[in-house]
């Protein structure tokens, strides 16, 4: 499939699709751990992706020292008050008995704490956002290589998952889905609006890369030699310099993307190995037992809720890694681009299409789904252009269809999901029943 795109459109496009396929595979493996292993309907995939992306920013961006110096004190005061409030609340929670008195005093403490925190928060954010608002206006990050953020993104997502799990695990599947969806939306609105953290909708761009830049490649000697060797002579004639330069630019893009693909492939394979081993271990058997019959599993002495929490955290961590990878690949962090259709439900389609509970299936599902998602647009444009035959060219209908052709992917995705659910409920690669 990808080869067809490679020859038909261009290798750059094909590799771009491949890279996103690989990232999507990581996401779908993460979701597969939650859904396929344990049957958790997590509709908050987006939250893990976004926090992974945030981590990439916080790890790799240079720290904005000026922001720290102007906002640091207020920020410190804010944290002090946060800890103070929380500890007082905890204290009251411990010493008072359950009742109206306790609820009332806790509410009072939170209210007082809120007033103080709000004061310092406003001060801090105002100061921080004043620092060169066009360029930074946020605290910046640690200035480490971005590749570290892949692991850190996993940890951050795991931490977030722990909190989400505390709130919503133990609910019935419908509720769990709605709660996770809601929490992920809260996450995104925080990312969009807290400018001091990651510039909100102003986006963070120009993140550092783990692979060489095209510009640097074009100037390095080995690269020029390689391209000249590859394309320099066609049919015995020496190619003109401007043609050669064009080839060079294309090849630079290809090489950069190949580097990414290599890195992503390593991640995908590592996670795949771990996931498969985990699934076939006693732990994996226990998970499936819980999934298939919660009552029986808990009667056998398995702690269902804490197992659910465990698997939810692991799966979210994997998705968090993918989120960091995605931000690395894009080189920018754009909270506005996180929408549930693309980052939650599309991943769901991948897992269900590929086969819930089967890791290879998740990868295949990710590849197919992403491929269709991207190629639906050119395909439907092509279709529209070819039914020109029946209509007069440039008739309003055709123009309208051309304009809306990208949305064909929505219908295709929905159809794919419904058809798979109906006729192939176990997906392309069904789960192996090992017994």
């Amino acid at each position: 499939m990808l080869a067809v795109v490679g020859f038909g459109q261009s290798w750059n496009v094909a590799l771009a699709i491949l890279n996103l396929c690989l990232i999507s595979s990581v996401m779908s493996m993460g979701l597969n751990i939650q859904w396929g292993y344990a049957g958790l309907f997590n509709a908050g995939v987006m939250a893990s992706t976004a926090i992974g992306g945030l981590t990439a920013v916080l790890i790799s961006h240079m720290p904005v020292s000026k922001a720290w110096s102007v906002g640091g004190t207020s920020l410190f005061a804010l944290i002090v008050f946060l800890i103070l409030t929380l500890s007082v609340v905890f204290f009251i929670f411990k010493i008072f008995k359950r009742g109206r008195k306790r609820s009332f005093s806790i509410a009072l403490v939170i209210l007082i704490g809120y007033v103080f925190m709000r004061f310092y928060y406003d001060q801090a954010t105002f100061a921080i956002e004043q620092v060169e608002p066009a360029k930074t206006g946020f605290l910046g990050g640690l200035g480490l290589p971005i590749i570290f953020s892949w692991a850190a993104g996993g940890f951050a997502a795991a931490g977030l998952a722990w909190i989400i799990g505390r709130i919503s695990l133990g609910l019935r599947s419908d509720y769990f889905a709605i709660a996770t969806l809601g929490i992920s939306e809260i996450m995104i609105s925080i990312l969009k609006n807290e400018d001091w953290l990651s510039r909100g909708v102003k986006n963070v761009t120009g993140l550092s890369r783990p692979v060489p830049y095209e510009v640097d490649l074009l100037q390095s000697e080995w690269f020029i030699n390689m391209v000249t060797w590859l394309y320099g002579v066609t049919d015995g004639e020496i190619v003109k310099t401007d043609v050669l330069r064009e080839e060079m630019q294309l090849s630079a893009g290809v090489i950069v993307k190949l580097c990414y693909s290599g890195l992503f492939l390593i991640v995908v394979l590592t996670i795949l190995i771990f996931a498969v081993r985990a699934l076939n271990s006693p732990w994996g058997r226990m998970m499936r037992a819980i999934r298939d019959n919660e009552t029986a599993a808990s009667a056998m002495g398995k702690d269902v809720t804490s197992r659910h929490r465990q698997v939810f955290i692991i799966g979210s961590a994997v998705i968090g890694i993918a989120g960091a990878m995605l931000t690395t690949l894009d080189g920018q962090f754009t909270p506005g681009s996180y929408i549930p259709l693309r980052f939650t439900f599309l991943i769901w389609i991948m897992v269900i299409l590929g086969g819930s509970g089967n890791n290879l299936g998740a990868i295949i599902g990710a590849f197919i789904t992403w491929f269709v998602w991207i190629e639906a647009e050119p395909a439907s444009l092509w279709l529209v252009e070819n039914i020109d035959f029946f209509f007069t060219t440039n008739s309003p209908l055709i123009l309208h269809l051309k304009e809306v052709a990208p949305h064909m992917r929505m219908i295709l995705m929905g159809l794919m999901l419904l058809l798979v659910l109906r006729f192939m409920p176990k997906g392309i690669l069904p789960e192996k029943s090992s017994s």
Partner: protein, 340 residues
């Protein structure tokens, strides 16, 4: 200025910016949430496609409105969309019944798990979303016509001599009136008619209802019809009040779910209460109370900050926050709906 004028000013201010918007937004949410809660009570799954059904219904209304306008048919004082409503409701009902027949009925026969239904509704959501985008595009469309304001802020100021104006949009009144009428009709239907009683029995105890000879297919069909009517109404009223934008309706399902759950899922009355609770808290948590307090307290105590709990961007987040709180504190909702 004496104190009573200040009181009145404060009252007008709060009605203008909090009370009336919350009432109309709450009515829109309530209409949506009743649909969600009915589907949940009868079919026992959370319908993620509900927002898209609303979007589809509104889209049909927009198209018919355009068609009517091109024919020169308008309703003068009222928006033309009101004239388009009956036909678009019928079209939406047909669509929903087709969806049920081709998609959901299969899983009903197989007695699939609730999760399968949810995933299926996600698939339906994708298809409807794509369909709406393909037919009408993604642009923001304002299809309101007729008289926009019943009371204009300036007029109100002149009439009463107060320094705060009160603007009352026709769509807001329409929303509230239509919501009340449809809710009354719905409850009359559920309480007094045979089919309504059958529906309640079915929602309460499926097996017992089946034993008493209630036809499940009929109950399900009626549920979908009611859902389609309410969804179209909610969608159109929301679109009239603000504007029609396909992407907005997806975001709307979250406050709607919140409303349904907060009120107690499976309980139509709860859904209505939930709708208003969510709407009021969304708007109150993001409203800056500074001016309101200035009117009420002596000037020495006037606050310096905006007295706004959260910035307006967090409007949607508020409803989830309520949702999460309710889930933690009282998972059955206000009206003790089904325990999930």
């Amino acid at each position: 200025m004496d104190f009573s004028t200040d009181m009145l000013n404060a009252l007008v201010l709060i009605s203008n910016y909090v009370l009336i918007p919350s009432l109309s937004y709450g009515s829109q949410l309530a209409l949506g949430a009743v649909g969600v809660t009915l589907v949940f009570g009868i079919l026992r799954f959370a319908n993620f496609a509900h927002g898209e059904i609303m979007s589809f219904g509104s889209m049909v209304t927009v198209l018919i409105t355009w068609w009517l306008q091109s024919l020169g048919v308008t309703m003068g004082f009222f928006p033309t969309a009101m004239l388009a409503l009956p036909l678009s409701i019928i079209i939406t009902i047909i669509l929903v019944l087709i969806i049920d027949n081709s998609v959901f009925s299969f899983y009903r026969k197989n007695k699939s798990r609730a999760v399968t239904y949810i995933v299926t509704s996600v698939g339906v959501m994708f298809i409807l979303n794509g369909l709406v985008r393909i037919i009408i595009g993604t642009d923001e469309i304002i299809f309101r016509d007729g008289q926009k304001f019943l009371i204009k802020a300036g007029h109100f100021k002149k009439m009463t001599g107060l320094s705060e104006g009160l603007a009352l949009k026709q769509t807001q009144v329409l929303t509230i009136v239509i919501a009340i009428i449809s809710v009354v009709l719905l409850f009359w239907f559920l309480q007094r008619t045979r089919t309504g009683k059958a529906m309640r029995a079915f929602s309460d105890n499926e097996d017992l209802a089946l034993l008493s000879g209630i036809s499940p297919e009929r109950v399900v069909m009626v549920t979908w019809i009611i859902t389609a009517i309410l969804a179209t109404l909610a969608g159109v009223l929301y679109g009239l009040d603000k504007s029609f934008k396909p992407l907005v309706y997806f975001n709307l399902i979250l406050p709607i779910f919140a409303a349904a759950i907060v009120g107690g899922i499976g309980e139509p009355l709860g859904a209505i209460i939930g709708g208003y609770v969510v709407a009021f808290s969304e708007i109150m948590a993001t409203y800056a109370f500074k001016k309101f307090i200035i009117y009420l307290v002596p000037s020495e105590f006037a606050p310096e900050s905006l007295v706004q709990f959260l910035t307006t961007e967090y409007k949607f987040a508020v409803s989830f926050l309520i949702l999460v709180l309710v889930l933690l504190v009282r998972p059955t909702g206000i009206l003790r709906g089904k325990l999930l």
